[in-house]
Symmetry: C2
Subunit: 374 residues, 2 copies
């Protein structure tokens, strides 16, 4: 089994930096990940636990430029975007953010972006880690849709935590407080309209600013940073403890193209309307008919602090395979290890006892929980 590797990330143009990278580096980024060929800060020298408590109590500034936008515009845009997802977008309004599975013809997950409806004929897919742009371009060319597809120079910056509203109000004015959850609006920043959404990859509240002018990146960062000083702002990043407790999934970690959205507990985003057409519909209908074979759940397991989960760890019950864990970490609040995993049919009931084959060679006593544990 693998142990955590303290290897450094090699730098190159291919692994793109962001408009905020100079500030992130000046603030002592200690860990990076790569998402969409772009650096994602993953730590600033403090422990994940310290960052966790801080995120729950204060406010953090996250460089999430790696959430690249796949822009789809043109006369066929609405029809085309609908084809790409089983979520019914027909009643979506401009200014809405919609979490949506993107699936292939076998209902395999391609990505799970937040779709921003910018206009009747213009959408952004704010994507997780796969080249959705290539999928979309291939489909559009093959099917002959009249759409233009590109990756605009948009670099999201997240302000997350319970004090996010106060910080944002100081920078953009009191009106930002009125932005509703998973809605966006434009607010002025030094004469430049900024797309601001109430969203983000945490359950602690906050905003994402979709900067579309990289030359304003450092000014934007600094303005929020300065405004945040009164609120104990820190640089941060998606926090593994917080996202596991909150049941936030990660493409490539919790699920891959081998999984369908019903296994991924995305039932709310898979339409049952027979009049809706989308890629993978026949596969979804067949899966619904047969019933899913597995589903994503939370898991908690005992023993000392778990090592990082860099591959799937088998779950078993009485010698039978019950599923696997894909992400795991120690929760200082629950004082046990928390995880997200895929549980096979027959083993997915909340309360089910499982044994966890941990990477350190130990077998831990575990229990299945709801996906959202917190």
């Amino acid at each position: 089994m693998l142990k955590p590797v303290p290897a450094k990330l090699a730098v190159s143009r291919r692994q793109r930096s962001t408009p905020y990278t100079p500030r992130v580096e000046a603030l002592g980024v200690s860990d990076y990940s790569i998402v969409n060929h772009t650096v994602l800060p993953k730590g600033f020298g403090r422990s994940v636990e310290e960052d966790y408590w801080h995120l729950r109590e204060h406010v953090q500034l996250w460089d999430v430029s790696c959430q690249r936008q796949v822009q789809i515009q043109g006369v066929d845009a609405a029809k085309f975007v609908q084809l790409m997802t089983p979520r019914d977008l027909r009643k979506a309004s401009i200014g809405q953010c919609l979490y949506a599975p993107i699936i292939d013809e076998n209902a395999g997950m391609i990505n799970d972006p937040v779709i921003l409806k910018l206009g009747e004929d213009r959408f952004w897919l704010s994507i997780a880690d796969s080249d959705v742009l290539l999928w979309a371009k291939g489909l559009a060319l093959g099917y002959g849709f009249d759409v233009s597809i590109n990756e605009p120079e948009v670099s999201p910056l997240a302000v997350q935590g319970p004090k996010a509203d106060d910080v944002m109000a100081k920078v953009f004015g009191e009106a930002v407080r009125d932005i509703k959850f998973f809605k966006f609006a434009y607010h002025d920043f030094q004469g430049h309209p900024m797309l601001i959404a109430r969203s983000g990859y945490s359950k602690q509240g906050g905003f994402e600013i979709y900067l579309d002018d990289s030359s304003l990146g450092l000014t934007l960062w600094d303005s929020i940073w300065d405004a945040g000083q009164a609120f104990n702002i820190r640089p941060g990043c998606p926090n593994l403890i917080e996202r596991i407790e909150g049941g936030l999934l990660s493409y490539g970690n919790e699920f891959t193209r081998e999984n369908n959205p019903l296994e991924c507990a995305m039932d709310d985003y898979v339409s049952t309307d027979p009049t809706l057409n989308y890629i993978g519909k026949a596969a979804i209908e067949k899966i619904r008919e047969e019933g899913i074979a597995r589903v994503i759940r939370g898991v908690q397991f005992d023993g000392n602090k778990t090592p990082p989960c860099a591959s799937t760890w088998m779950l078993s019950t009485g010698g039978r395979i019950a599923g696997y864990i894909s992400s795991a970490i120690w929760s200082p609040r629950f004082e046990t290890n928390v995880a997200i995993g895929m549980l096979e049919r027959g083993f997915w009931d909340v309360g089910q006892r499982v044994s966890v084959a941990c990477a350190d060679g130990s077998e831990r006593n575990g229990v299945v929980t709801a996906l959202q544990q917190a």
Copy 2:
């Protein structure tokens, strides 16, 4: 400007390890990169210069599992793969490796894989860093081709350097010496047929073994490692000095979807046969008619050892923009800095003087060279 970041790579299932990772870690990997959502070792604690001299004189074992295979098979496979590239594959034979640009309808580069023709109806695209699988799947679905497209569990292992033949002969038998450049053949390894190609991302000679059974990964690594002891084998990786001197391009570094294959000096792989049909043909014909606006060349520049090139560095001549550099490093053999860059029309002649805007703030005196400098 950015300075090199010593941040660690955060581990997770999403950033996939390989069948060889336990050995790579035991041998002290110090740097990682991410290619195709998979770790690529980039250093083992020695300097790039030490690794460079060693690669030129001895033999190295490289974990290049990140070169994922996009497998395309089925009755339409040959027709479909040809549609994806301007390289004429019609006379390709089984057992051949073909370097080939993959382009979109605007002739923009999607990837530059080596295509392995495994059968008349079965191909592998051994890819650089973009999700070609999604592009191919989108196209096939949209156009309605009868092909199946997937990513098989294949993990290439490279043996590179002048002593590669001797090491490989000890493991696979003398017959491996007969494999011709950019050809592949199957040779037995403990009762398992191994696809072995004479290829690799260096100009020092060697092989790539396309392991298709991960459970044999450590045995394969160990067998080559043991056989290599008599030849001073070391763990290694694509070497930046060697690849720049040799003019080997890197997708995402030297070129992106913004570039066409003629700009990328890939004329030999862009057919001029009017009877050949492929995506982007009209765009290629237009570019040929108008002439390219820029082209990839080598560049050398003076001053002390260059810092790493993590973004493009502008080239200028007499106050006019001449292009940019995308990769650069000190060459201990040439005793100057070597680079690869994109030179604008009017500035691309070998011998052209340019000024390099280096990330350390200095302006260096440079000169345009042939792409292959060594």
